[in-house]
Amino acid sequence: MTLFWILGVLLVASAVFVISQRKPVYSVVGLLFHFAVLAVFFLTLNAEFLAVIQIVIYSGATLILFVFVIALLSSGVAPFSVGPNRMPKAAIPAGLIAFVALALVVYGILRAPLVNAPRAATTSIPGAVGAPNVFGSVADFGKALFTTHLLPFEMTAFILMVAVIGVVALAGETTPFVPSLRRARIIEREMREALLRGGEE
């Protein structure tokens, strides 16, 4: 109970930190903290395998990707490390409306007639985190992943392969699909001149 509120306050505070920072690098650090707290949260929900891959995939892979992109773009012409910080004109009324909507949603959720699930719906027995063959242990998760839910697992492999091909096609050395703005303007001017010449002849 106390742990839930401590972790919840940390989660919300780090989420606000992520979206309120001026420099993206600070946001990455806030997101790293957010994911670490979330991994602890997953442990309190008996999801030990997902707590580990939360750290490995998000903190180890995705956030490093963010840091690399920030470093890559900072070395160019623009001081990307600062980045645009302009707020849209409607920021304050939009924020107020969003806050009221959030308050209504949370109020509705807290008043909703939800019940905790009955004991009869179990597929496996609960137990302490780290104990073998209880709900949420690695063996339990792996058994479900490779027997009942094998097709979704295979589809994640396909999704990752498509993502890899897409990234190489988008950001590779030669980008046949994305002409630069300058080249597009040159092509446009040449086409216009060709049209004018055609009109004269």
């Binding site: 946001s27 929900l45 990307f80 645009p84 969003a98 959030l102 994640t156 999704i159 994305v178």
Partner: protein
């Protein structure tokens, strides 16, 4: 303490997840830096993940864990492709302000 019960009632998890989801949505709508917008999308993915795991724990059913696993995979793919798009846009337009990338505007 009953082993089968959640640490706190399920409504608390739903409320916390909704709060984080709204913070992420506010980040996408308010910030004009594409990297921070992508990070806000990651926040929203994780709010959904938290709820999947909370319900999986409440019903003691593994399907929520599988779904959270798929969500993490898709989020990683989305982050990789989104960052590649940011790099390509920066390379061609020399700007990272999403409002200035408006060449499709009629």
């Amino acid at each position: 303490m009953n082993e089968a019960a959640l640490p706190v009632a399920i409504v608390n998890y739903i409320a916390l997840s909704a709060v984080i989801l709204f913070i992420g949505a506010a980040g996408v709508m308010l910030r004009r830096n594409p990297l921070i917008m992508l990070m806000s999308i990651e926040l929203m993915w994780n709010a959904a993940n938290l709820l999947f795991l909370a319900f999986a724990r409440a019903w003691l059913n593994n399907a929520g864990h599988i779904f959270a696993f798929i969500v993490i995979t898709v989020a990683a793919a989305e982050a990789a492709i989104g960052l590649a798009i940011v790099v390509v846009v920066f390379r061609s337009a020399q700007t990272v302000d999403v409002d200035e990338v408006a060449s499709l505007k009629g």
